[in-house]
């Protein structure tokens, strides 16, 4: 292709336009983050948790799940449990190495990430992040590909393997109750104030204040403030987070950012491959024609 002034201007214009198109998206992503900071969250203060498991019972009742195993029995803490299709939240005891350490309890459930891996991984938007905070599951769209389970760094989405028509099951942050102005069942029932429901920004302030006022007591870290780009459930504690079963190697990058570079390259491949391939095709054709013409010429001379 010969580049004259007109084609140059066209190209420059197209490039500029493409550049401008990429700007609003960044702005939009930032906007989303701000919106989510204003969303609802829960602050878990493990120093206040006594391991009564009332939250488990309330959760089961609110979600019409079977009753929690071994109610009121301390032996339940002998084995570390994880959430399942039949229990959206479980309380575990800290992994203490000797008798002298005070046992701590920690509740686990969906973290309701600010930018959830599961929602960005779902090909059919069966998992979506609502602006109010909850990451909710819409069963009527789910195809059962289980990519959300691969993506979730906390291993939260659970699949009904025993069913012929299975769904994904996980904590919904009681999104329905929240809509009616009620607290999540677990936060409502918690007798010690270990679970505090509120605006995420305000809860972060409270958490910082508690750490600031009791610097010798708390670990100076709010789990979930920055982990995987921020989560809706925040934790503070006075024992090392590892002992409570938290993964400290998750990083602060939000999971959608891992696939974003790839996904944003897709339109470029779609735009650039066709002219490139057609160019090669044209070149090949042209070469064939020239060769044919050359052969004919030679044949005439023979």
């Amino acid at each position: 292709m010969k580049i004259n002034r007109r084609t140059f201007l066209k190209l420059a214009g197209a490039t500029g336009a493409a550049g401008m198109m990429s700007r609003p998206r960044k702005a939009r992503a930032a906007g989303l983050a701000r919106l989510s900071d204003n969303s609802y969250a829960v602050l878990v203060d493990t120093t206040l948790c006594v391991g009564c498991r009332a939250c488990e019972a309330a959760c089961s009742e609110a979600n019409r799940l079977p009753e929690p195993v071994m109610p009121g029995d301390q032996a339940v803490f002998e084995k570390e449990r994880s959430t399942s299709p039949q229990s959206y939240t479980v309380v575990n005891r800290s992994r203490n190495t000797n008798e002298k350490e005070t046992p701590r309890f920690v509740k686990s459930q969906c973290m309701h990430c600010v930018q959830p891996a599961c929602a960005s991984a779902c090909p059919v938007r069966a998992l979506v992040k609502s602006p109010e905070g909850p990451v909710v599951y819409q069963q009527d769209r789910c195809i059962g590909c289980r990519y959300c389970m691969v993506a979730c760094p906390f291993g939260i989405p659970k699949f009904e393997y025993e069913k012929a028509v299975p769904s994904i099951r996980k904590c919904s942050f009681c999104a329905e109750r929240q809509k009616q102005g009620k607290l999540p069942a677990c936060a409502e029932v918690c007798p010690t104030g270990a679970l505090k429901f509120g605006k995420r920004e305000e809860l972060l302030e409270i958490a910082r204040t508690r750490i600031y006022q009791n610097p010798d007591r708390y670990i100076h870290h709010i789990y979930g403030e920055h982990e995987v780009g921020g989560t809706g459930w925040l934790y503070i504690t006075d024992v090392p987070f590892e002992k409570l079963g938290f993964r400290m190697d998750l990083g602060t990058t939000s999971y959608p950012e891992f696939t974003w570079p790839f996904l944003s390259a897709v339109p470029f491949v779609l735009m650039l491959w066709p002219p490139f391939l057609m160019g090669i095709y044209a070149f090949t054709k042209n070469r064939e024609k020239t060769t044919e013409a050359g052969e004919k010429k030679e044949a005439r001379y023979e």
Binding site: P123, R141, V165, G251, L270
Partner: protein
């Protein structure tokens, strides 16, 4: 009255010619008692009830999948490896149509057929694996999760399956004897090829990009931001070597289909493909090295999984690279064929490593497939082979249709 009789006779003759390869139904069925057919029948006799069992009682009853290991053999082998090995379709189509290397034309149709059936049975494998397979059209027709790599994969498999069907249509119409439609299909085929190359680039790499979402679950030696590029480059290698393997096998199995001229050609074609594969393997090897340097996890090389990583990289990438180069130089077709098989196995190992072996490497609950998963995978592969043979025996895939000899497009 007479007319109906004639019509039935005509229909019977057509069925006889097109479906039973010119034999009567009884002769045809008797001809099926070959060792291959008996083994295939046995596999299906076990496999089809197993698949039925999976649908009746759910994935938990039929597989070793768990809450920690949501993906197993069906994803690793039938889907990830299946798509990679089906790459021969787009690789050969671009070689012949776009790069104009007409000498590879004799293996093109078989490659496209392998590609088409490969993808078709990837979808079959996916249907067995999905929790709610009847919703498989949802990402394309109903609910769009545009931020998902899986969404991209779904669209591309759907579009590319259509593309490959169009690319293969000329052979179907030659078989049916529809000359006018064939003419139209040939024109479509070129456009479908270009579109197919674009789609393949994107979704071969997208299958790798799926795992970008698992930075803490996939072993650091396998997890790199380059994983989409690895999947794409290795799919080219898989395509080239798969065509070598597949053409060698079909020329042995379907000898009656091939005119002697082609046997000679095939050696040249094999060497040509081997050379290209060697170069691609070389590139791939250095890209993989780049991944290690970028990740900086040299210490992990000195662990059991690290050794396994080195086996994959040295034994199934670098070794075949040199063996192919040597074989092509010495014009040793047998060596090239054997090495091509080694390379194909290496690509399958890579896909299984990424999806199963190196996935959840740091977790206590490790996955290993149970017999029903293995049987189901084998059943799906067998179905693919049977379909391939059914088509090759009837349609002009390995041979040229006498009416269109030398038209080459």
């Amino acid at each position: 009255m007479n007319e109906t009789v004639e019509r039935t006779v005509g229909r019977r003759a057509l069925a006889r010619e097109k479906l039973w390869m010119g034999l009567s139904l009884r002769e045809y069925l008797r001809g099926l008692a070959t060792p291959f057919d008996i083994v295939a029948a046995l596999i299906l006799a076990v496999g089809l009830p197993v698949i039925a069992y999976r649908f009746a009682y759910g994935l938990g009853a039929a597989t070793n999948l768990s809450q920690t290991n949501p993906w197993g053999l069906w994803i690793g082998l039938d889907v990830l490896s299946g798509v990679a090995l089906a790459a021969g379709g787009y690789v050969l189509a671009s070689t012949v149509y776009l790069f104009g290397l007409k000498q590879f034309y004799p293996v093109l149709r078989a490659a496209i057929l392998t590609g088409f059936l490969g993808y078709f049975f990837v979808v079959v494998g996916l249907l067995v694996d999905l929790g709610r397979p009847w919703r498989i059209p949802y990402p394309v027709f109903y609910s769009y999760g545009v931020t998902s790599v899986m969404f991209l994969v779904a669209w591309h498999v759907f579009l590319y399956l259509t593309c490959q069907f169009l690319e293969f249509c000329p052979a179907v119409f030659e078989w049916l004897g529809w000359k006018n439609v064939r003419q139209w299909a040939v024109r479509m085929a070129i456009a479908a090829t270009v579109f197919g190359v674009i789609l393949s680039t994107l979704h071969q790499s997208a299958l790798g990009a799926l795992f970008l979402m698992a930075p803490t679950k996939l072993h650091p030696l396998w997890y790199t931001p380059f994983i989409p590029i690895y999947f794409f480059i290795s799919s080219i290698i898989a395509g080239l070597t798969m065509v070598i393997v597949e053409s060698a096998l079909s020329h042995r199995v379907f000898q009656d289909q091939i005119d002697p001229q082609r046997h000679v050609n095939l050696d040249e074609i094999t060497l040509g493909l081997g050379k290209a594969a060697s170069v691609a393997l070389f590139t791939y090897f250095f890209l993989r090295l780049l991944g290690i340097v970028d990740g900086g996890h040299w210490d992990l090389l000195d662990t059991p999984l690290g050794y396994w990583f080195l086996v994959e990289l040295l034994g199934f990438v670098l070794l075949p690279c040199f063996l192919l180069a040597h074989g092509v130089r010495e014009r040793n077709v047998r060596l090239v064929r054997g090495t091509a098989l080694l390379t194909v196995i290496g690509i399958v190992i890579n896909r299984l490593n990424v999806s199963l072996v190196a996935f959840n490497w740091n977790v206590a609950d490790r996955y290993f497939p149970n017999w029903m998963e293995v049987v189901t995978s084998v059943t799906i592969i067998t179905l693919g082979l049977i379909t391939f043979r059914w088509i090759v025996n009837r349609m002009p895939v390995l041979r040229e249709h006498p009416d269109y000899r030398g038209t080459h497009s």
